[in-house]
Amino acid sequence: MSVVLVVLSCGAATTLQDGGRRGYLRYGLSASGPMDCIAHAGANILVGNVADASAIEFGLGGGRFRIEGGAVRLALAGAPCPIRLDGEPVAHHRSLVLREGSELSIDRPREGVFATLALAGGIAVEPVLSSASLHLRAALGGLDGRPLHEGDRLPLAPPPLSGEPECCLDPVPIERDRPIRVVLGPQADRFTEAGIDTLLNAAFTVSNRADRMGYQLDGPEIAHGLGGFNIVSDGTVAGAIQVPGSGRPIVLLADRQTTGGYPKIATVISADLRRLAQRRPGETVRFESIPLREAVRQARERAAAIAELPTRARLVADAPDRLLGANLAGNAVDAFDERD
């Protein structure tokens, strides 16, 4: 009998994601993939998957799930969503087994936005263009090209459970109080000096227009130069901060449009995309400019940190009590020192 994860309920922004879809930007299709790549990798590593295996991403929501036809090891990482197994609280950032007859319940996170639920063996949907990631606007990938909803039955292919011990990982903090780092360009020269000062010195707020395509920020207007706010469209990257005629910046993200006709004043470094994505509407964002070489160093450190995750997973029995306690108490992010 096949193993199926049954969605009893879930939030609107619940999607399947894997490492993303490379190679189709030239056809107008952005990569998609996880909004918090470290959460995605961490959840997968905890259940013995490769870091970019397909998993369920929640955006400011959660869901309730049952399993049919077997049992599966799973783990939730990212924004701290309260989790219950048959009504009993469980810590996040740890693995556990969901068995037939039990119900897993994940609540809206106490802070942050995106959380990833990984299941051992991944989600057995047919990849589209070599990826299981949902691209919402293109109605492509995921489960039938759409977000998950109540009643969905996700095919799983879990490896047999062989009594491995459960593992946990320390969450990697979001560092809400520190600025989001950017590299100026590609069109910083389309802005006045005052416009760049505004970007780097003002406090912005994540607006309600924030989704997997991009986050529009509220705050002071960023002044364009004499050339105005129209350019002949060119390519966009995840993290590009485009400034339309309103002067209100939009940070383009995983499901963004692949080209754009507004000047892009700066680009959020890849290592900080998750830090921005985890800020909710109403939260403050400040930007800091760093040199490209420092951004490259941060990207390499992050890649090394992801590669090291398997060695950082610890047996739950060995984890200090404060880990589980802290997670349940809702201050997990503050409970740990920033990793080096």
Binding site: Y27, L140, S233, T236, V237, Q257, T258, S270
Partner: protein
């Protein structure tokens, strides 16, 4: 026009753009596509993918594998060298039903230019267009080669939704739209051809560098062609053998 040398624009730590100019111009686009072809051939380590536009090539790279600044300088040097124009690319004939409910702005465009609607159709269907870029949304094909006598700046207020397959013009650009979306362009007609269709092989019909010819067809043929396209047929015809 005078051509300045290509520039290297940083796009964070995972990409950079080689900018050939900032205009919609067939020569600029040919240089972009030529560099794109050179990079496809060269398969430089660390290059993940490339995105041609009318006037620039964005190169996505893996900052763990390469130093983006060094790679950028290397590719900038290539961009400043003599680039051989890309080969002709595929040629597609794309059926279009013009005017009426299929192209709500045809008559207004004709009136603006002092032409008959038939003139506008003839001038729009005359050229061999080049697919200068695909972008914005999956399969949206932006074409160069529009008859300059048809050029018309965008509508003052965009329409909240225009249908999949819309054939439109905006400024000096011509567009084949793949999925329903808002648009401020002038709608001349509609094609049953799906330039993007999940579940069909190929999912994307058009590629940068391809050529496109529009073939006016009778509204009476719409239903048959559209049903064939919905069933997964290309409906577009390949002309380059």
């Amino acid at each position: 026009m005078t051509r300045r040398p290509p520039r290297l624009l940083p796009c964070g730590d995972t990409a950079f753009t080689i900018e050939f100019g900032d205009a919609i111009d067939a020569d600029l686009n040919a240089a972009v596509l030529a560099l794109d072809a050179v990079l496809a051939e060269a398969a430089l380590p660390g290059v993940v993918e490339t995105v041609p536009t009318y006037r620039s090539l964005t190169v996505h790279c893996d900052p763990v594998a390469v130093d983006p600044a060094e790679l950028g300088q290397e590719i900038l040097a290539l961009a400043r060298s003599d680039l051989t124009p890309p080969h002709a690319g595929r040629i597609w004939r794309i059926p279009v039903v013009y005017g009426g409910e299929f192209g709500a702005d045809l008559d207004a465009v004709a009136e603006h230019h002092g032409l008959s609607s038939g003139d506008v159709i003839a001038r729009h269907a005359e050229p061999d267009y080049r697919v200068a870029m695909l972008g914005f949304l999956p399969g949206y094909a932006y074409l160069s080669g529009l008859d300059p006598t048809l050029a018309l700046s965008r509508r003052p207020s965009p329409r909240p939704i225009t249908p999949a397959g819309t054939i439109s013009i905006g400024g000096a650009q011509a567009l084949v739209a793949s999925i329903a979306a808002p648009s401020g362009w002038h709608l001349l007609g509609r094609t049953p051809v799906r330039s993007f269709m999940p579940g069909r092989d190929p999912i994307f019909l058009l590629a940068p560098g391809d050529r496109v010819r529009f073939e006016p067809v009778d509204p009476g043929r719409w239903t048959v062609l559209d049903e064939a396209a919905a069933a997964g047929e290309l409906v577009a015809e390949r002309l380059d053998g």
